[in-house]
Symmetry: C2
Subunit: 466 residues, 2 copies
């Protein structure tokens, strides 16, 4: 009897000890411009996503999960560093994101998730779109990644056929010519294909991801799988083209779901699923400007480029049968939180010489404890637009859509929304709750003071020769 | 060995024979003004509906399921008779629905689901809101129901405090006085309470439903459980008030979900779940006019009173572990289809002396065969507004909202939407597909000819003495 008690008492320690010998693997599947409403389990009536839906049932479906910024480059910087992009100059009023003639990248002094995991012996790979500087000195290899395979900026860049594309793309089934966009495909630092054949790109990313998982089955790894889809121009493989019988956009998402299934299969086949956390999410809301080539924010207002919920709240699922306790989590979380969460789950050190904006969600994941995130600051184009605490959201600036001709609207007076009772931000109640408004504005003021030592704009500027 | 083969060969017949001896029970849970987006598994970020979500996982979640009309009375007539309400005079340009001074009801010559099941020995009950005529000669007892317990019309009717209610109800947590609305609670034909205490009404409906199931466990039954919630004014029991910490609307839906759980429990406890089909749905979209007291249509356009998808597409789940084959069904279905479907599953006779607009979905339910519904006609206020085939929807008339001051808009030229690629009906493509437009308009013309022999408007008129 005594022996049994001894064993029972010690079991948790044995488990802990074996865990610290084998810290968990992390896989982040990061889509491009996927909207809150574009997944079956997040309410899309037609897009079939059985693999992501399975992750949601077996893992945690987060319904109030935010990205650091409503456009591409800053959103990615925020996820990888755990810091609001304003801090490291990764948001810009001038150019919004990096372009093929941008001279800069994510400052090398920034620490990414890959860099904080490396000292623990993690193998790391970035597969997919990077968009944090395309020059060799800014590619993933300089930011803690052992391997890189993907495109360095958006799949619509470097094109002299934009006009032609725009004219034809109104048709929901319009399939662009891959030659229209002179985007390079890079492996480590070498351009291996130009223009990248985008029709097979989701498939090839998936093959590289599966290969990386298999190669690293004996050691901890971090895989950052950043799909270039469903950013316009939409491309899909022959196997998926027309398969949904609905639209090209739906085909594209269903291929991403297939890709997710391949990743899960690879983890299960190699018996890694019990010690891996897979996160599925998106970099910002749907690009509504492109009509049926853009997605849906579901019930949320507006989309990409805006600080309404449709721009920054994204469909997010955490899966990990040995680690993540299943359930629907309707508390707040953010991509900013991944760095501290992965650090906590692995035992990695969080940098203490800089401000980290992320919160550690590990207890929410493992024990369904209350999320420590109680607030969120909505930045866009280097300006603070809005702030949310648990119940209320105040807006001082707004954009209804990303539209380069129209500037940000400075509101004459702040707008206030009860973001839980009014999920679509339709009913401004600022007049009724002036004290709430001033409390929230005060928080915004304090936050602005807190980011005073931000780096200068890294996105601005053009290279002379391109 | 021979004996085994004999048994194996005969098993399906034994099953069939036992099924025809015990035709399945049917339970229809019909909510009032619940929107497409108001259920967790249909994409609401905050409303927790574990019981309905369980039905969706174990049964069939239908994502393109329609009600016969976007307002209350005609929608109910359509569900119970399987006929577009224009045919039996149950839709009106004058009064829209029945009121406490209406002299009429669903014509007694109409045959309801209860009436077609009665000859097979079904026990039948209507619990909840009726709204098909409040005079004793039009109550459920006259339409095939053995038992009735509920309110005869909407829960906001018969009130001289409307102004007071409207003024105060902007607050998401505003809880009206049950005395404001002089709605009677009726058992069979007797008024047993007036005004009905609406705070306990969802709970009391549930108790009556469970009692009916238990009483009839030895014989086939049809239970029509038509909740009065979440139609405004919102009421909820003490147990649920404030429980969601989000809003009164959320509390109300969570009490309905609790009610669904009690029904499932009663079926399981009495071992009836394997021979019962439970349908969960709503009578029309959310009443958006009432802001945070109305629900959400999720990604769909507009709400109650309109023929946009938000008005007529409702969150629908079929559950029945012994009968319904699990899955997400993104084909079309309608409440009009329940009558022929129940007839097919039970062996009841479908009336042949009148036009039935419903399709038999039984094979879709049991075998996931293709849904036979390939089109839908959108009627509102006795006018044909729109028509959909599988891919396209054409509008000739529209309302953006139910607003009694504003008439229906006759469009200068038809609008066409690719309803699958453009789920929110945002991008009119009529100019690009004139042939599709004329094909669809032609179908509308044929349908109008087909309903020429409709009964006169039953909803119009007022009683002199009230």
């Amino acid at each position: 009897m005594k022996n049994w008690i001894f064993i029972l008492v010690c079991l948790p320690f044995f488990k802990l000890s074996s865990q610290s010998e084998n810290p968990p693997n992390f896989v982040v599947v990061f889509c491009d411009d996927l909207g809150y409403g574009d997944i079956g389990s997040f309410g899309h009536p037609l897009i079939q996503t059985p693999n992501i839906d399975r992750m949601a049932v077996e893992g945690q479906k987060w319904t109030q999960f935010y990205v650091a910024d409503p456009v591409c480059t800053p959103s990615r910087a925020g996820l990888l560093t755990g810091r609001y992009p304003i801090r490291n100059g990764m948001t810009s009023s001038e150019r919004h994101v990096f372009f093929p003639d941008s001279p800069n990248g994510l400052p090398l002094g920034e620490l990414t998730i890959a860099e904080i995991l490396k000292p623990l012996g993690y193998s790391t790979a970035a597969v997919g779109k990077w968009h944090l500087g395309h020059l060799p000195k800014f590619l993933p290899g300089q930011q803690g990644f052992d391997y890189y395979y993907g495109i360095p900026y958006s799949n619509d860049m470097d094109s002299d056929k934009w006009g032609e594309y725009l004219e034809q793309s109104e048709d929901p089934d319009y399939f662009s010519n891959t030659e229209f966009f002179n985007v390079p495909l890079i492996e480590n630092t070498d351009i291996i294909e130009r223009p990248a054949d985008q029709t097979t790109i989701t498939k090839r990313y998936t093959e590289k991801a599966v290969k990386f998982i298999e190669k690293n089955k004996a050691q901890p790894f971090f895989l950052y799988l950043a799909h270039s889809m469903p950013h316009i121009p939409l491309f899909v493989s022959e196997e998926f083209r027309g398969r949904s019988k609905t639209s090209l956009y739906v085909d594209v998402i269903e291929e991403i779901d297939w890709s997710v299934g391949e990743v899960l299969k690879a983890l299960e086949k190699n018996n890694l699923h019990k010690n891996t956390v897979v996160v599925f999410t998106s970099d910002n809301g749907p690009w509504l400007l492109f009509k049926t080539h853009g997605g849906s924010a579901g019930p949320l207002r507006a989309g990409k480029g805006t600080t309404f919920e449709g721009g920054q709240r994204v469909p997010t699922v955490f899966w990990g049968p040995g680690i993540v306790s299943p359930g629907v989590i309707d508390q707040m979380g953010a991509t900013l939180d991944l760095l501290p969460t992965f650090a906590s789950l692995s035992g990695a050190k969080i940098p203490t010489d800089r401000k980290i904006d992320g919160h550690d969600l590990s207890k929410a994941l493992t024990q369904k404890s209350e999320s420590p995130r109680k607030e969120f600051f909505y930045w866009a184009f280097a300006e603070l637009h809005a702030y949310r605490n648990e119940q209320y959201k105040v807006h001082i600036k707004q954009r209804e859509a990303i539209h380069y001709g129209r500037p940000t609207l400075e509101l004459d007076s702040p707008e206030l929304y009860d973001i839980n009772a009014d999920i679509s931000e339709k009913y401004d109640i600022a007049d009724k709750f002036p004290k709430v408004v001033s409390k929230l504005l005060n928080k915004m003021q304090l936050h602005l003071e807190d980011v005073q030592d931000a780096l200068p704009d890294q996105l601005a500027g053009r290279m002379a020769n391109e």
